[in-house]
């Protein structure tokens, strides 16, 4: 039965998504129980997936029994297992937060599970078209998750998100069609086997495909010049949505993109297009300019959103170095970032919920009012800056090592500089909250934050420390993934 695990995982998420509204309309009290137990089983299943992937190597699965070159292909390798596990863990904690906040929206949960299913699909898809379908599901569900807030700014942001990402989807679909035309396959493995011939026969078409993919996936990942939709959408979305979208969803598009790049294009394409350099430049710009934009923001949520633009830069940078350490750094940063950013977003959510304020300037003296939330926020921020025992440091370490291996000292300086920039926009928030006194007439009327709202935040914050001290464990899995991608 272990053979069917990947399908079971996705199906379980889909079924949960479907039955939640049904159960909600039948018996309202049951909804949180179903949601939380669904999340837990989800974690168990995904850990099982990871275990299977680590124990017995990559598992290929063909629904319907069609062979690889015709049918849908699903892969369960360490990358997929790792991502699925990471996703389900973060997902569960955010679910706890939503249940704690007490959103009485069965559709919200339904969409969350749908998003989860599509994410699992994206990381496990081994044929491009299947990947595309799952990406579209996740696009629509994420837009719905933003628009569900039903405020003017949320709908504005959602619309922007939808339109721009739809353009990206169009580009990707066109690219898939062109790739299919010149290679005759949709399965990544088969395309890879044809790519050498295609490179000789149709180098220009392949360049076009690559351009379409970079634009399409770039929009979805929100890499620097294509990030315009992100700040509006994330800052207006409901807090759990932005936590999930920012911390994981965009990164998983990155995984999908670079899986294609590594399996299909790398290293042959570098004779035709300087892909690595283009991506590196984009990443470096994202890191620097994202941080600069973040410094200028006055709204807490917008600041966090721009910081995600910068952080995506790190991940793209790590992948586009095409070195072992760079890849390690990228994977590690995906994991660490998921914990850091969801901590920050949920903490920001608590802050906004209990004070009704979003401006950084108005948070003076809040630290003593909401000590638990703010401690978690501080830990995550310090991790972002890259203070050693915390997890953010280690991913930066590997990114720097990767840049050195790739002989790119400029990138090293950029990474170090950006940690300083991170400090420049996170530390003022913390310092203001702890050490400034609220201006006269601006004293807080803080609503009580209940434990069920801050416990998820605390767990996430603690995991930032634990992941820092226990880097060994994710690194083991990451090493496997890296050898897989580097083809060694």
């Amino acid at each position: 039965m272990l053979k069917h695990l990947p399908v079971f995982l996705v199906l379980f998420q889909l079924i949960t998504a479907i039955i939640i509204p049904l159960i909600h309309s039948l018996k309202k009290q049951l909804t949180p129980v179903v949601v939380l137990s669904g999340g837990l089983i989800n974690i168990l299943l995904s850990i099982l997936c990871l275990y299977r992937a680590l124990e017995a190597g990559p598992l290929f699965y063909y629904p319907g029994g069609w062979e690889a070159h015709l049918g849908i292909a699903i892969i369960l390798d360490p990358i997929a297992g790792l991502m699925v596990t990471l996703f389900s863990v973060i997902f569960f904690i955010i679910l706890c937060y939503i249940v704690g906040v007490g959103r009485d929206e069965s559709w919200y949960y339904c969409l969350f599970f749908l998003l989860c299913a599509s994410m699992s699909g994206i990381v496990m898809a081994f044929d491009i078209f299947n990947l595309f379908v799952f990406m579209e599901i996740s696009l629509i569900t994420s837009v719905a998750l933003i628009a569900i807030k039903n405020t003017a700014s949320a709908i504005d942001g959602a619309f922007k998100y939808l339109i721009i990402n739809a353009i990206g989807s169009g580009c990707i679909l066109l690219g898939i069609g062109m790739l299919y035309q010149i290679t005759g396959f949709l399965n990544l493995g088969w395309i890879a086997s044809m790519i050498d011939r295609a490179l000789i026969l149709y180098p220009h078409v392949l360049t076009g495909v690559l351009g379409l993919f970079v634009v399409g996936f770039g929009i979805k990942m929100a890499i620097f010049p294509l990030h315009v939709w992100l700040p509006d959408a994330y800052s207006a979305a409901p807090v759990p949505t932005s936590a999930l979208l920012s911390s994981l969803v965009t990164k998983i598009y990155g995984i999908a993109f670079f899986r294609i790049i590594y399996i299909v294009f790398f290293p042959g394409i570098s004779h035709v297009v300087p892909l690595g350099s283009i991506l590196k430049i984009m990443a470096a710009l994202a890191i620097l300019l994202g941080s600069f934009f973040a410094i200028t923001q006055v709204d807490l949520m917008r600041m966090l959103a721009y910081s995600s633009v910068a952080q995506i830069g790190y991940i793209v940078l790590g992948f586009s170095l095409f070195t072992g350490s760079g890849l390690k750094g990228a994977f590690l940063h995906i994991i660490n970032y998921a914990f850091m950013k969801s901590t920050m977003f949920l903490a920001a959510g608590n802050i906004i919920r209990s004070t009704g304020r979003r401006d950084i300037k108005n948070l003076d003296g809040l630290g003593s009012k909401m000590p638990v939330t703010f401690t978690a926020f501080t830990i995550a921020a310090l991790a972002m800056i890259g203070i050693p025992p915390l997890n953010g440091f280690f991913s930066k370490w590997y990114l720097v090592l990767g840049s050195l291996e790739a002989n790119e000292p400029v990138l090293v300086v950029i990474i170090i500089l950006s940690s300083l920039l991170n400090a420049a926009y996170y530390l003022p928030v913390i310092v203001r909250a702890y050490f400034y006194k609220p201006a006269a007439g601006e004293e807080f009327k803080v609503k009580v934050v209940e434990p069920k709202m801050y416990i998820p935040v605390v767990i996430l914050g603690l995991s930032c420390i634990l992941l820092g001290l226990g880097v060994n464990w994710p690194l083991k899995v990451i090493n496997r993934s890296v050898t897989l991608l580097m083809g060694g």
Binding site: V7, L11, I19, L22, S25, G64, G65
Partner: protein
């Protein structure tokens, strides 16, 4: 719409539209067509009906709840049918060892989902606040 001619023609056409929809749906596995096309025709005919006879008529049977159940049942049926492939020893959705024609049943489930989704989307979008 108050135009008598349109109403009459619609009431004549509607059964044929539904029939054609079912035809496309049920023959999807052996000829062009299938669950999505058939479901779309079915859903469109319902939309057509609602446009002509008004929202009241369309929403007569508490359609939101019913439609939600139909969507859910369709999707669940699809999943259960797919799982039957695993039960019979093959892969998910595999048709090899099954005593019945999986394709037809799957198309039916898809048609159900598509038709009800289409109709419910129309109802939601045109709902007067």
């Amino acid at each position: 719409m108050k135009n008598l001619i349109i109403k009459k023609i619609t009431s004549i056409l509607l059964p044929f539209m539904l029939m054609y929809g079912f035809y496309v749906l049920l023959h999807g596995h052996t000829s062009p067509g299938g669950g999505f096309a058939g479901g779309a025709i079915l859903g469109t005919s319902l939309v057509f009906f609602t446009i002509v006879f008004g929202h009241r008529a369309g929403e007569r049977f508490k359609p939101r709840l019913v439609l939600m159940f139909m969507v859910s049942t369709g999707a669940l049926t699809y999943i259960v049918l797919g799982l039957s492939g695993i039960v019979s020893g093959g892969n998910f959705l595999s048709n090899d060892n099954l005593p019945f024609n999986l394709g037809l049943l799957l198309e039916t489930a898809i048609g159900l989902v598509v038709a009800s989704v289409l109709f419910s989307l129309f109802l939601e979008l045109t709902r007067e606040e």
